[in-house]
């Protein structure tokens, strides 16, 4: 594990770009493939994941010295389940319109690999401050990835964006199905890798 200390802003930016959970770390592909059918779904789920990630990271980094190494995973899972339940109840009570739109998805967040992985790799080894920024970076990176996928799938699959009719017809309903989601995630991962290669090449040229 790299022990170089990163600044908080660097953690934040990394979560969105170079260590984007879906496109670079290949974590949480399930929601990326299954739920990113519309931009609105992507935004709502992204916000929910952001909250759960930040709260869980902060909780674990506060109690990290007291977790027995043999029961790490159950502890992470219990923490995540606790926060997901709290957010689910709060949404149902105080934001019924948003809850109606994304109610089913919120309960699924417990199973997302990204949150457990982030707790294991980062929050259990770092203090509150870095964990908080890492959590926000990861959550926003997830939301950004879901919004991008949702944008392409909604526009090409249903001809609408955020519910507003843009094209007036449905070009390729195929994009709404999970199969197309899979292919699209692969293509976007390739695009991100290619961008990184080009960026590194330009950096090398500049340093010469």
């Amino acid at each position: 594990m790299a022990v170089t200390k990163k600044t908080n802003t660097q953690l934040f930016v990394d979560g969105i770009l170079t260590e984007n959970p879906i496109f670079r770390l290949a974590l949480s592909m399930c929601p990326a493939v299954g739920i990113s059918t519309t931009v609105m779904n992507g935004i709502l789920l992204g916000i929910a994941v952001l909250f759960v990630q930040v709260f869980s990271s902060c909780t674990i980094s506060l109690i990290k010295d007291h977790i027995h190494p043999r029961i790490r995973i159950p502890t992470y899972t219990l923490t995540i389940a606790m926060w997901v339940t709290v957010i689910d109840l709060v949404l149902a009570a105080y934001m019924p319109v948003a809850y109606k739109a994304m109610g089913i998805f919120v309960k699924l967040i417990v199973a997302f690999a990204i949150i457990t992985m982030r707790l294991e790799m980062f929050a259990s080894k770092n203090n509150l401050g870095p964990s908080f920024w890492d959590g926000i970076g990861m959550g926003l990176g997830f939301m950004f990835a879901m919004m991008t996928l949702g944008f392409v799938r909604e526009l090409l699959g249903m001809g609408t964006l955020l519910g507003y009719d843009i094209l007036g017809f449905k070009p390729l309903l195929y994009f709404v199905l999970p199969c197309a989601g899979f292919i699209l995630v692969g293509l976007m991962m390739g695009m991100f890798n290619w961008i990184e290669v080009v960026y590194n090449r330009r950096k090398r040229v500049k340093e010469l």
Partner: protein, 304 residues
């Protein structure tokens, strides 16, 4: 050994702490959540009857809920209807027990107010007081009867049936002759773009105005929805002067007795909704006639 004890204690503490936080969140938010659900159902019911914010409900519109239970007494099975009755100046409830042949069995007083009867737990406690073991009872469904003054305006039936994915939960409005007044999709988990189109007006509004005779044999037809019918159904997109009075009437009578046009790519969801509505309507019409006959024969002072 010490390690195992250590681990067990740590796990127990974590579980208890997590449970405490979740319990706290639940108690704080439960009341607001129930209020939201109740408001949602109320708005759906008023919308089905044609009352919106722009057209508020008149003051003599009242709702009366009838709850149906299945009672098991040893080998025998009975249907118990918790009906609202007029007790002097107030409303109370009575349990009218009918056997499977439609004959009256007995009538029991249930001490519960109409406001409390909305909660399932309250109904159960009140029923436990009158239906002592070995009688067992299970909740079946509810019917809400809307009355305008003294006349029955509509029957509102919440119902649930299997859809393409899991369940589809609907609120069906029938007029006093069991023709369909309207349909509202309350909850579902169908695919967006495909099965979720059952929420769209061009599917929901097809059921409006179908007579009871048509609903009893209602089927789904895999044909494309005619353009003029689609524009007629999507009332939200109506503009000024789009349809004249005669056009509306002619389109309505032309498509009144047709079967339901399926959603492209979602035949199973369309069939599920159609079959669900057909079953709910047929069963309800059969049951409500028996209930009305028994209630009249026994002179139960019902409020509906």
């Amino acid at each position: 050994m010490k390690q195992i004890i250590h681990i067990t204690i740590a796990l127990i503490i974590t579980c208890v702490a997590a449970a405490a936080v979740m319990g706290l969140a639940f108690t704080v938010t439960d009341k607001a959540k129930k209020q939201n659900e109740h408001k949602n159902v109320q708005n759906a019911m008023l919308g089905l009857l044609g009352y919106t914010k722009a057209n508020p409900a008149p003051s003599d519109l009242t709702f009366h809920s009838v709850y149906r239970y299945v009672i098991e007494d040893g080998e025998a099975i009975y249907l118990g209807y918790m009906v609202p009755v007029q007790k002097g100046a107030e409303e109370g409830y009575e349990l009218v027990v009918i056997n499977l042949e439609g004959k009256f069995v007995e009538k029991l007083e249930v001490s519960i107010t109409p406001e409390a009867a909305i909660e399932e737990l309250e109904r159960e406690t009140a029923l436990h007081a009158v239906l002592k073991p070995p009688k067992k009872f299970t909740y079946a469904d509810a019917t809400i009867i809307a009355k305008l003054g003294d006349k029955r305006l509509a029957y509102l039936l919440p119902g649930e049936f299997p859809g393409f994915k899991t369940f589809i939960s609907v609120m069906l409005a029938l007029d006093p002759n069991f023709g369909v007044l309207g349909l509202e999709i309350m909850e579902h988990e169908e695919d967006p773009g495909l099965g979720a189109e059952i929420e769209q007006q061009y599917f929901k509004h097809q059921y409006k105005g179908k007579s009871f005779k048509k609903v009893k044999g209602l089927k789904v037809v895999k044909e494309p929805l005619p353009d003029e019918y689609k524009r007629y159904l999507e009332t939200k997109k109506w503009k000024e002067g789009m349809f004249s009075e005669e056009e509306i009437e002619s389109i309505r009578s032309k498509y009144q007795d047709k079967d339901i046009y399926a959603i492209t790519g979602a035949t199973i969801s369309s069939k599920a909704v159609t079959d669900g509505i057909r079953n709910i309507t047929k069963k309800f019409a059969y049951r409500v006639e028996i209930l009305d006959r028994v209630v009249a024969g026994q002179a139960v002072p019902v409020t509906f």
